[in-house]
């Protein structure tokens, strides 16, 4: 009987969580797939809701066939009752249950007030990541959005924020964002990438191991050319201008040390700036479970297990590396969890193909990571009156003062002295900036709750009959 199967709770229905759920369900496990979005797909396969009646949503996507396979397989599993998909469920905490297993605490719907709990024998964290943006003067002006945010609003809401956009920062995400916006009729005035394309040529081995990825890059290049998008490599945005709304940005060339070359600044009129400097993993749920964190990512072994028994992690929560890597990791995690939960013999050969693509993708992204670094001297462009913590409106000057005058030596002390990172977003947006300005390493934040929780819900969370 289906209900006697061991039960795995998968949190996150992006590529990683979907692949994990399907693999686990195919190997004798009952899965509850929990995600805050209204539909499955995560960031990569974000689609417009049914009400918008998109007949060709694939026009904004690549690897659409893979999505269709995942979508069909999920529907079949839901139909068969081996996967239960809880959409619109915002997980704020996962705790070990007594005597065994875990309790997943979620809040229902966009208002996030009604609590729901899910009990499971094991959990798999596939919560993905979010974009990192380093500050510069004017970055809080309306019209300045994250590159991924522009993409999410485009893919999910079929809207664009303006008519003329500059896409800027560093990293592979800028390419689909620029081409997506251009295809949707926005004039892309420039793609400003701080990395040096020549740096790729110094990493031929890891890059050549991924011919598919290279072809993808070439395809994007061709599309940008077709839309007459001006490419500005080794350039950076040094300021955004406007009163109540963005009306221009200043871009400048970088020297080989990552410093702005004086005299190269020029103003580019635009009403939108889509900017991103890489991605950060969502690790809050893993942190509250006590999982080991490696750098800023959840640490996992070959089977995608964390060091807490019964907790697996896959996809960008374990390190940034794109959708294909997330799929491979999810598959392995799902297979491993199923084998462990059903007590069947573990045979890593069963997922050898996924393991191979995982290894190649990790090598590829490790190489990309050394190329796509923000300009080494980005803090020199951040004026004292630039707001760094968007929620609490803490300026760069205040952070510098905390370090220089008050002797703060780490992000935690800066936070206590300035309130940077104490607002609504709990430092998710300003942490890299505060660390950079304070001249220290960014460290895991130890946020105990993944979402803001109404106090009434928190007070009742320990009640045994809350189920």
């Amino acid at each position: 009987m289906a209900t006697e199967r061991p039960h795995l709770a998968v949190i996150g229905a992006g590529p990683a969580g979907l692949a994990a759920s399907l693999a686990a369900a195919a190997h004798g496990v009952r899965v509850t797939l929990i995600d805050s979005a209204a539909g499955a797909g995560g960031q990569f396969y974000r689609r417009p809701p049914a009400g918008l009646g998109a007949r060709r949503p694939e026009a904004l996507h690549h690897q659409w066939r893979t999505w269709r396979r995942l979508e069909d397989a999920l529907a079949a599993r839901v139909e068969a009752g081996t996967i239960r998909h809880l959409a619109d469920h915002h997980v704020w905490c996962v705790v070990p249950a007594v005597p065994v297993g875990f309790v997943v605490h979620a809040l229902l719907g966009p208002l996030q007030e009604e609590p729901v709990t899910v009990r499971a024998d094991a959990v798999l964290l596939a919560t993905g990541g979010y974009e990192k943006v380093l500050p510069f003067p004017g970055w809080t002006l309306p019209g300045v959005v994250t590159a991924g945010g522009a993409q999410a609003m485009l893919k999910g809401g079929l809207v664009v924020p303006g008519q003329r956009v500059v896409v800027a920062g560093t990293g592979p995400l800028l390419l689909p964002v620029a081409t997506g916006l251009a295809a949707a009729g926005v004039e892309v005035a420039a793609l400003v990438e701080s990395a040096d394309p020549k740096a790729f040529l110094r990493r031929p081995v890891a890059l050549a191991a991924q011919p598919g990825k290279l072809a993808e890059g070439v395809r994007y290049g061709a599309q940008l050319l077709r839309h007459h998008v001006k490419l500005l490599p080794r350039h950076t945005v040094v300021a955004a201008h406007g009163e109540e709304r963005l009306d221009a940005v200043t871009v400048a060339a970088l020297d080989t040390h990552g410093r702005v070359r004086p005299g190269t600044e020029r103003r580019v009129p635009c009403d939108t700036l889509a900017v991103g400097h890489g991605m950060l993993a969502h690790i809050d749920l893993a942190e509250s479970l006590g999982c080991r964190i490696d750098g800023l990512n959840v640490a996992v072994d070959e089977e995608q297990r964390t060091d807490v028994p019964g907790v697996w992690a896959a996809g960008e929560t374990t390190g940034i590396g794109g959708a294909a890597l997330s799929l491979a990791e999810g598959h392995i995690a799902g297979r491993s969890a199923a084998a462990r939960l059903t007590g069947t013999r573990l045979d890593p050969r069963a997922w050898a193909r996924a393991a191979r693509s995982r290894r190649r993708a990790r090598e590829f992204f490790a190489a990309l990571d050394t190329v796509h670094v923000p300009p080494a001297h980005w803090t020199e462009q951040v004026t004292d009156d630039t707001v760094v913590c968007r929620c609490e409106e803490v300026t760069a000057g205040a952070v510098r003062n905390a370090v220089d005058e008050l002797g703060a030596g780490d992000v935690r002390t800066v936070k206590l002295l300035t309130r940077a990172g104490m607002g609504w977003c709990q430092g998710r947006m300003c942490e890299p900036a505060v660390a950079g300005l304070a001249g220290c390493e960014q460290t895991p934040a130890r946020r105990l709750l993944a979402r803001p929780v109404p106090l009434g819900v928190l007070a009742r969370a320990g009640d045994p009959d809350d189920d």
Binding site: R55, L111, A150, A152
Partner: protein, 99 residues
């Protein structure tokens, strides 16, 4: 070309909501933020300290820059909340609690 044309969208019947009393057209399935963007509005909040305008930044519910008051409930993330016919949306000042 616009995004709706690009994906061959045939949206269900549109409806209106109000933004500080002004009527705004919205499409089914859109979030509050998407409807506001479609109407050309990119800021709908003034910060607590300096009173500076803000709108969407991250687009996915992480940054809390897009807070807005919907049907008298302050501090809703416009990028997450689906828009519904007849919604009363108000630009939000500071904490949204009128203090």
């Amino acid at each position: 070309m616009n995004p709706l044309e690009l994906v061959g969208a045939e949206p269900g019947p549109g409806f209106t909501v109000t933004l500080d009393g002004r009527e705004i057209a919205a499409l089914p399935g859109q979030t509050v933020a998407a409807a506001l963007w479609a109407a050309g509005v990119t800021s709908w909040r003034a910060t607590r300290g300096a009173g500076r305008p803000r709108g969407v930044f991250c687009g996915i519910g992480v940054c809390f820059d897009c807070l807005v008051t919907v049907n008298d409930r302050p501090n809703q993330r416009a990028c997450l909340v689906p828009v519904r016919a007849g919604d009363t949306i108000r630009m939000q000042e500071g904490t949204g609690h009128g203090d």
